[in-house]
């Protein structure tokens, strides 16, 4: 039994990955007379992405059930934040009911769930979108204090980081551009908007490419290790069992 628990996940992982990798190198079969292997690879290429999306929705379902269970326990235990847990549960249940019943849209279950006039699209416009944007915009305040602490130019590296960030920032706002309008035309490349463009086009491109190539090599190595069963977590499901 222990063997089944240990080996079946690894076999599923390896077979799935190898089928997908092989399918990238084999042409799509034109008709039903293509060899069985070719048809199998085309099937994997076509279906596995859909199955993955379906599993993602089941993962959302698992997360939702977990959320409900966690907050029900908090309410049952009369914890200090039980009223906020109730807020989460009520919000969750109401939006779930509104969305699953497709309220406010075309009659019955017809049409798009976010069709104009549907209650779910109203929830998105009135609640989700403002909250999302405001929570992220809060970072504008904290990023300022964090950058003050991080950017105190103590070395050449941090000075370059600070200078690059400042030039890119100033180059994108009208006030920043106004600062260097006095620079004469023959040396216009020294104007802040030109410097900003140059940083984004030359050193930034070089650095991004080095990062992308490095990350790609890391991802490929990790994928090979996972397929070969050398990586511990995927084989054990992450809990080491």
């Amino acid at each position: 039994m222990r063997d089944v628990k240990q080996r079946v996940p690894q076999i599923i992982l390896t077979v799935t990955a190898l089928l997908l990798i092989a399918s990238a190198f084999v042409a799509r079969p034109g008709d039903g007379s293509a060899p069985a292997v070719q048809r199998l690879l085309a099937f994997a290429d076509q279906e596995f992405a859909t199955w993955f999306s379906i599993l993602t929705v089941f993962a959302f379902l698992l997360g939702g059930l977990n959320l409900v269970a966690t907050h029900l326990v908090k309410i049952r235990d009369r914890g200090p934040d039980r009223y906020y847990s109730a807020v989460t549960l009520v919000s969750f249940v109401v939006v779930l009911a509104v969305g699953m019943a497709k309220l406010g849209g075309p009659p019955g279950l017809q049409g798009d769930v976010t069709a104009p006039g549907s209650w779910l699209s109203a929830v998105f416009d009135a609640v989700l979108s403002p909250l999302h944007a405001t929570l992220y915009s809060l970072l504008a305040f904290y990023i300022a204090s964090a950058s003050y602490r991080a950017f105190r130019a103590r070395s050449l590296e941090s000075s370059l980081l600070l200078a690059s960030a400042l030039v890119v920032l100033l180059g994108r706002i009208p006030a920043g551009r106004y600062l260097t309008t006095w620079i004469p035309e023959p040396v216009a490349f020294l104007r802040v908007e030109e410097l900003s463009l140059w940083i984004l086009r030359v050193p930034n491109t070089a650095g991004q490419r080095a990062l992308m190539i490095g990350i790609a090599l890391g991802v490929i190595a990790l994928a090979v290790r996972m397929i070969a069963g050398v990586e511990k977590d995927p084989r054990s499901g992450g809990d080491g069992s």
Binding site: L13, T16, V57, S91, H132, I213, I220
Partner: protein, 230 residues
């Protein structure tokens, strides 16, 4: 001159504005209004993405394939499709994922996880090899270091491409940790580190701009549609 208020009569605008102010109240300190908005966000976003996942993925790709007659509820005019037994496989994997809720059966939840990891590994290996490895190398050296336009050599473009090539190679040298970075090799790695620092600075500047743009957007929403000042 004091701007004239023209308060909105739209309930949606009011809800959005009040939730915005509740979140901004965190700048003062953690308080019940912020906590309320935070918990609403968690509940609403979890339910919203579950609903979207169900109607945009699970319904067409699983429910309609296993129960074609259900299509009459969502599209009465459309012809009923055929039953697709292949859909039983993702359905079984999905149900196995829910086995994690029962401790004695939680080991079965590793099977769909293994499938998800295998799919990710398979797709990622090919995609990263192609777009983030080969195409990036091609973009760095494949465009030619001596571009011309109308028979004229564009020396500024050549210089820029040379710098990009040097920066990319030195950045990669910096990432190599299997060799001690000293001597000429160390100097190249040091140059790579400086290029990476400029890159991180540019990314940070862009991130700050993004956050500030969101902040400006929120103020525009408050002052415009809600208060009617703008």
């Amino acid at each position: 001159m004091i701007a004239a208020f023209d308060l909105s009569g739209d309930l949606q605008v009011w809800i959005g504005a009040l939730l915005t102010l509740m979140v901004f109240s965190f700048l003062w300190r953690d308080n019940p209004f912020y906590k309320f908005a935070e918990h609403v966000f968690v509940g609403v976003s979890a339910a919203y993405w579950m609903v979207m996942g169900f109607w945009t993925t699970l319904w067409p790709a699983l429910v309609l394939k296993l129960f074609p007659a259900a299509g009459r509820w969502s599209s009465p005019e459309a012809p009923v499709g055929a039953w697709d037994p292949v859909a039983l496989i993702p359905a079984a994997l999905g149900l196995l994922m829910l086995a994690r809720l029962w401790p004695r059966l939680s080991w079965l939840g590793k099977w769909p996880t293994a499938f998800a990891l295998g799919t990710t590994a398979g797709y990622s290996l090919v995609r990263y090899l192609r777009s983030d490895f080969l195409y990036q190398i091609q973009a760095t050296i494949g465009t030619g270091l001596a571009p011309t336009a109308g028979g004229r050599w564009l020396w500024q473009e050549s210089l820029a491409q040379l710098l990009v090539l040097a920066g990319t190679v030195s950045g990669l040298v910096y990432f190599v940790n299997t060799r001690e970075q000293k001597g000429a090799y160390g100097r190249v790695a040091r140059w790579g580190l400086l290029v990476l620092m400029i890159t991180f600075g540019a990314s940070f500047g862009s991130a700050v701009m993004g956050r500030v743009a969101l902040l400006v957007g929120r103020f525009q929403e408050l002052l415009g549609p809600w208060l009617g000042i703008l």
